[in-house]
C-alpha cells in the first residue's frame, strides 16, 4: 500500500501514527501492529528515497513499533513469564496515542474560539487622558522576557565578553555562593564551620578568598568577641540576592 504522505504535514510520529490508524479504520485500542508497522516504515522509506531527511523522532518511533511487533509475535510464554506477558506490549503506545489525540482535539477546539485580531477586535485608540506623558511602548514582562533581555545584551557585546577564556577549576564566585547559602537563615556562623570536612588545600584557599571578597563587597561581617575567641560570620544584608552565574570571575581579578 502506498500512501502519499509528507512527513512535514505531521506534527510528529504520534501524529503520523494516528493518521495511519484512522485511514485504516483501526480501533486505537487494538492496533494491528504488523500492518501499521509496515505502513509506517514504508512512509519513512519513501521519505528517504525522496532524499528527505527523516527526523530522529520518526526513526525512534519506527524502532518502537518494530519492538512491539516482535514482542507480539513471540510464541506463547511459558509460565515463568506469564505474568509479564499479561501486559499488552501495545499498552504504553496506546496510552500515548490517546493522550496525544486528546490534546490534538483540545487544540482544534481552542482554535475555534473567537480570537483577537481574527474574529474579535479591540479598541486601539488611546485617549490622551490615559496615554499620559512620554508613553513608551509597553513591554510584556515576565521571567522569560528578563532572561531574553539579558541574553540579547550579552550577545550584543559578545566580542568583549569572550575574553574570559581560562576557567579556574575552583571558582571564587561559586564559593561565594556556597558561603552565602551556608549563612542563609542563620544569624551567624563560626569561621570553623566553613573549613570543616576534608577540603583540599586549594578549596580552603578559595573559600578564604571568597570570604574576603564578600567582606570587600560589604555583604559579610566578621566579628570576634576577643582574641582567640571564635570568629563569627554574618550577612550584612538581610537577603544576599546573588544568583548563581551572576558573579563573574573576571570581576574579582582571579581570572
Amino acid at each position: 500500500m502506498s500512501i502519499a504522505i509528507c512527513l512535514s504535514n505531521f506534527d510528529g510520529p504520534l501524529d503520523l501514527l494516528l493518521h495511519l490508524i484512522k485511514t485504516n479504520e483501526m480501533d486505537i485500542s487494538d492496533i494491528q501492529m504488523v500492518e501499521i508497522t509496515e505502513q509506517y516504515l514504508s512512509v519513512i522509506e519513501q521519505m528517504k528515497q525522496m532524499d528527505l531527511d527523516v527526523a530522529g523522532e520518526f526513526l525512534l518511533m519506527a524502532a518502537t513499533l518494530i519492538h512491539i511487533k516482535s514482542r507480539m509475535l513471540l510464541p506463547a510464554a511459558d509460565e515463568l513469564e506469564a505474568e509479564e506477558e499479561d501486559v499488552d506490549p501495545r499498552a504504553e503506545l496506546v496510552r500515548r496515542l490517546l493522550e496525544y489525540q486528546r490534546y490534538k482535539d483540545a487544540a482544534l477546539c481552542l482554535n475555534q474560539f473567537p480570537c483577537v485580531r481574527r474574529e474579535v477586535f479591540l479598541r486601539q485608540y488611546l485617549e490622551p487622558d490615559i496615554a499620559g506623558p512620554g508613553t513608551e511602548d509597553p513591554v510584556n514582562v515576565g521571567i522569560y522576557q528578563l532572561a531574553a533581555a539579558f541574553h540579547q545584551l550579552l550577545n550584543a557585546t559578545r566580542v568583549e565578553v569572550v575574553h574570559e577564556v581560562v576557567r579556574e577549576q575552583l571558582s571564587v564566585a561559586d564559593f561565594i555562593h556556597k558561603i552565602l547559602d551556608h549563612l542563609q537563615g542563620h544569624a551567624q556562623r563560626s569561621l570553623g564551620d566553613f573549613f570543616k570536612g576534608n577540603a583540599s588545600r586549594q578549596e580552603l584557599v578559595v573559600t578564604f578568598l571568597a570570604m574576603l571578597e564578600l567582606v570587600k563587597m560589604r555583604m559579610l561581617k566578621i566579628s570576634q568577641s576577643a582574641e582567640f575567641q571564635p570568629v563569627w560570620l554574618s550577612l550584612s544584608v538581610s537577603e544576599p540576592g546573588v544568583d548563581a552565574g551572576s558573579l563573574k570571575e573576571v570581576g574579582f581579578g582571579y581570572g
Binding site: 482535539d105 483577537v116 487622558d129 522569560y144
Partner: protein, 199 residues
C-alpha cells in the same frame, strides 16, 4: 445612568487591557460589593451581538470587544493578515494550558517531538510564561499560560477552557467513533455559536 456607572463604562472603554474589579475599586476607593452591581448592569446593557461591540469578561477583568460574527468586516481595517497558529503551536499551547505547570520534557513526551523551538516562539509571542523551576533533580523550567493567552482566546479564566475528553486506555467500551467530536462544554459552544450566528 448615574455618573459612577458612566465613569465605570468610560474606564473600561478606555483601558488598554481588561480592567479588573480590583482596579476599579482602587480608582473609586470603594468595595467590590459597591461596584459589582454597576458592572453587572453594564454587562446587561452591552450584550454580545447587539450593537457591534459588547462588554466581555476577560482574564479576570472587563473589556469591550467587537462582536465575533463581524470579524470578516473588521479584518478589512488592517492590511496585516490575521494571526494564525501552526498545528505544532496550537497543540503545545493546549498541552501547556491543561497541564500547567508543565516542563519541556513532559510536553516532548506527550508530543513525541522536540519542542524547544515551539515553546520559544510561544514565549516570544507572550502566550506562555515561565512559572519557575520544578523541584525535581535538574530543576527544569515550568511553563504556564499568560494573561495574554486568556485575552487572545477571549477566556474569563482557565476554567473557560473546553473540557478535555476523558479516556481510559484500558476501557474496552472505548468508542473510536467518538474521537472526531470532542466534547464542548455546552455553555461555550452555545455562546460561541450564537455569537457567530446572531445578528
Amino acid at each position: 445612568m448615574d455618573e459612577r456607572c458612566r465613569a465605570v463604562a468610560a474606564l473600561i472603554f478606555a483601558a488598554e487591557s481588561p480592567l479588573t474589579l480590583e482596579r476599579l475599586c482602587a480608582i473609586f476607593d470603594c468595595q467590590r460589593a459597591d461596584l459589582r452591581p454597576v458592572v453587572d448592569r453594564l454587562l446587561e446593557l452591552y450584550p454580545v451581538s447587539q450593537s457591534g461591540f459588547y462588554l466581555a469578561e476577560i482574564a479576570g477583568g472587563y473589556q469591550f470587544r467587537t462582536d465575533p460574527d463581524l470579524g470578516h468586516w473588521l479584518v478589512k481595517l488592517s492590511r496585516d493578515r490575521p494571526f494564525r497558529f501552526s498545528q505544532a503551536a496550537l497543540e503545545t499551547l493546549a498541552m501547556v494550558a491543561y497541564r500547567q505547570p508543565v516542563t519541556r520534557g513532559e510536553i516532548e513526551y506527550l508530543r513525541g517531538v522536540d519542542s524547544g523551538g515551539v515553546l520559544k516562539t510561544l514565549l516570544d509571542k507572550g502566550f506562555l510564561r515561565i512559572l519557575g523551576k520544578k523541584d525535581v533533580p535538574g530543576r527544569p523550567l515550568m511553563y504556564g499560560t499568560s494573561k495574554q493567552f486568556l485575552e487572545f482566546f477571549g477566556l474569563k479564566d482557565l476554567n473557560g477552557l473546553p473540557t478535555l475528553k476523558e479516556f481510559s486506555a484500558l476501557d474496552p467500551a472505548l468508542d473510536p467513533g467518538a474521537e472526531a467530536s470532542p466534547e464542548f462544554p455546552l455553555d461555550i459552544k452555545s455562546e460561541h455559536n450564537s455569537a457567530r450566528n446572531g445578528i
